[in-house]
Every structure is written in structure tokens, then in C-alpha cells.
């Protein structure tokens, strides 16, 4: 070993360590594809799986951001450690930025969750005010309750691993973008006109999509809209 280019060695090590900690590359591209699938699925749901399996498909679509986190880790371990692990020196500023982003994601999700719960309460109050729908409560409530458990649980699922498995600000941004389409059903609460339109047009078989539980009570069985008239 003759001359030592100190600056080059420092820069190479620093860059590799940073790359090692962020685990970017193919995983980020995959996250983008997943977000696209989720977005397209919300605009025009395609049933790949039929019958009860449809619920599994819907669950997979909703859990995609959460699935992305471990997938990113697996891809990284298989593809990006050709020269072995190199741990970066902890950067306090970056760490603080990461936690700020995690907090922002939490706040956005919690806001939508609160709105969703308020929607549930107001919808339920609406049911109680109408005598003709009260009698349907006992039969429909378990289904409605199941749907609303999704609404209540999803933000927690999205949040629980995020601060530990998201390694940088770029990843936090990518994660927030991939979560964006999931908030679309909650946005029904913010647009009364859209809510009316959805009440009239949309089927009720997407778990977690029920912004207003009275829809289920009024429209009946989730698959009614698919049956031919009079069947």
C-alpha cells in the first residue's frame, strides 16, 4: 500500500455507510409500484380473487405499505450487502428529522381516524333516529362493527413499525405517499356530496371503506348491488 488518499477513503466509507443505513434502490421502486397498485385499485377495484378470498385481496391492498417495510429489509439483505455491513456514525440531526416525519405521519393518520370515528358516531346517531332502520341493527351490526374495526386498526398498523424500519427522510416521504391512497376512503367524511354519490354507487364490500355505517343498513347485503334486479 503506497500513498493514502484520505479524503477519497473517507468519502467512499461515508457514502457506503449511508447507503447501507437507508436501504434504498430497488425497494423504493417497489414501494412506488405498490402505491400505484393501491391507487389504481381505489379508482377502479379489480377482483383478482373471488368469493371470501376477495377480503384477503382487499386486506393485502390495505396492508401494502406495512408489507413494504419488511420486504425492503429482505431485499436489502439479499441484494445490497455485497461488501458486508457498514454502520454509519449516528447523525443526530437526521435522527431528529426522521422522528419529526414519523410524528407528522402519526398526526395525519390520527386526524383521519378521529374524523372516521366521528363519522361512525354521527351515522349511528342517524340510524337511531330512524325507526325503520333500528330493526335492522341486530342483523347488520356485526358486519358494520367488523368494517369499523378496520378503520380503527389500520392507522395503528401503519404506524407501529414506521419509526424503527424507516431509516431516512426520503423513506418517510415515500411511506407517506404510499399511505396517501389509504386515506381516500376517510376523505368521504370531508366531502358530503361525494359521500352521497358513494352511497348511491359504490358496493360495500371493501373492508374499512365504510365512512357511514347507515349505508350498509340502507343498502342491505354487500353483494346486493351485483345481483340482477329481482333475484
Amino acid at each position: 500500500m503506497s500513498g493514502v488518499d484520505i479524503q477519497r477513503l473517507e468519502a467512499l466509507t461515508h457514502n457506503y455507510a449511508e447507503f447501507d443505513s437507508r436501504k434504498s434502490g430497488l425497494a423504493t421502486a417497489l414501494g412506488g409500484v405498490m402505491a400505484l397498485i393501491v391507487g389504481l385499485n381505489l379508482i377502479h377495484p379489480i377482483r383478482v380473487l373471488a368469493g371470501p378470498w376477495w377480503h384477503i385481496q382487499a386486506a393485502l391492498v390495505f396492508l401494502m405499505p406495512v408489507l413494504w417495510l419488511p420486504l425492503k429489509q429482505i431485499l436489502f439483505r439479499r441484494l445490497y450487502r455485497g461488501l458486508g455491513p457498514v454502520k454509519a456514525i449516528p447523525d443526530l440531526a437526521q435522527e431528529r428529522a426522521k422522528w419529526r416525519w414519523s410524528f407528522s405521519i402519526a398526526m395525519v393518520l390520527m386526524t383521519f381516524q378521529t374524523l372516521a370515528l366521528l363519522g361512525f358516531v354521527s351515522g349511528f346517531a342517524g340510524v337511531l333516529r330512524q325507526p325503520e332502520t333500528i330493526r335492522l341493527l341486530s342483523t347488520r351490526l356485526p358486519g358494520v362493527w367488523q368494517s369499523w374495526l378496520w378503520v380503527a386498526a389500520l392507522p395503528w398498523l401503519y404506524l407501529v413499525l414506521a419509526p424503527w424500519w424507516i431509516k431516512g427522510v426520503e423513506e418517510a416521504r415515500a411511506y407517506l405517499i404510499s399511505l396517501g391512497p389509504k386515506l381516500n376512503p376517510h376523505s368521504v367524511l370531508l366531502h358530503p356530496r361525494r359521500r352521497e354519490r358513494q352511497q348511491g354507487n359504490q358496493g360495500l364490500d371493501d373492508p374499512g371503506l365504510h365512512a357511514d355505517p347507515t349505508r350498509r343498513l340502507r343498502l342491505g347485503h354487500p353483494h346486493d348491488s351485483e345481483r340482477p334486479a329481482g333475484a
Binding site: M1, G3, E10, Y16, L83, G84, I89
Partner: protein, 107 residues
């Protein structure tokens, strides 16, 4: 004449453990990260396994680095960490060099 004597004395005062080019490269890499795998260190410094092992053992004996042995799945991974003494020695070495070569230090 007096100036030359001081220069020679300063050269002799340099920490030999750090001044050797291979060890200087190792310490420089280790100081740029928290923990570095053996394979990465080998590739980036361009040394052979045996050569790298010899130098890391010397640096460990001097208390300038720690060896960390772990398993990644079933594969054993050897990594190194610079110690606080190692960091201080490298810093002192850079300071001495800058004092010896003021023009180089400004670049």
C-alpha cells in the same frame, strides 16, 4: 539548521502506529463509520486478507480498534470499530502533519 533539526524531531515524533500507510488507511476508514465489516475494509484499502489481519491485530494491540465478531444468519461476520484512543491518535497525527506541512494543510 535549527529549523531542519526541529523538522526531523517532529517527523520522529509522529505516531508510528498511525503513520504506516496501511494502518493510516484502516484508521481513516474506521473513523468515517461506526462499525466496518472486514470485507469492506479489505476491498476499500486494496489489501490482502493476511496483510489486513496483521495490521488490524497490531492496531488492536495498541488499543486503537476493537474487533466485533457476529453472525448474520449462519455466516460469521467480522467487523471493526475504532476506539476513542484510536480516534484521538488519528486526530493528533493529522494535527502534527498539518503543523509539519502548513501548505498541505491549507489545501
Amino acid at each position: 539548521m535549527r529549523k531542519n533539526e526541529n523538522f526531523s524531531k517532529a517527523i520522529l515524533d509522529l505516531d508510528r502506529m498511525v503513520h504506516e500507510p496501511a494502518r493510516l488507511a484502516i484508521l481513516t476508514v474506521l473513523a468515517s463509520a461506526e462499525e466496518v465489516a472486514f470485507l469492506f475494509l479489505q476491498r476499500i484499502t486494496g489489501m490482502s486478507k493476511g496483510n489486513l489481519s496483521t495490521h488490524t491485530q497490531k492496531l488492536e494491540a495498541a488499543g486503537y480498534l476493537d474487533t466485533v465478531k457476529a453472525f448474520q444468519g449462519r455466516i460469521p461476520v467480522t467487523s471493526f470499530r475504532i476506539t476513542e484512543d484510536g480516534r484521538l491518535a488519528l486526530k493528533a497525527y493529522h494535527k502534527q502533519l498539518r503543523a509539519l506541512l502548513p501548505e498541505e494543510g491549507k489545501r
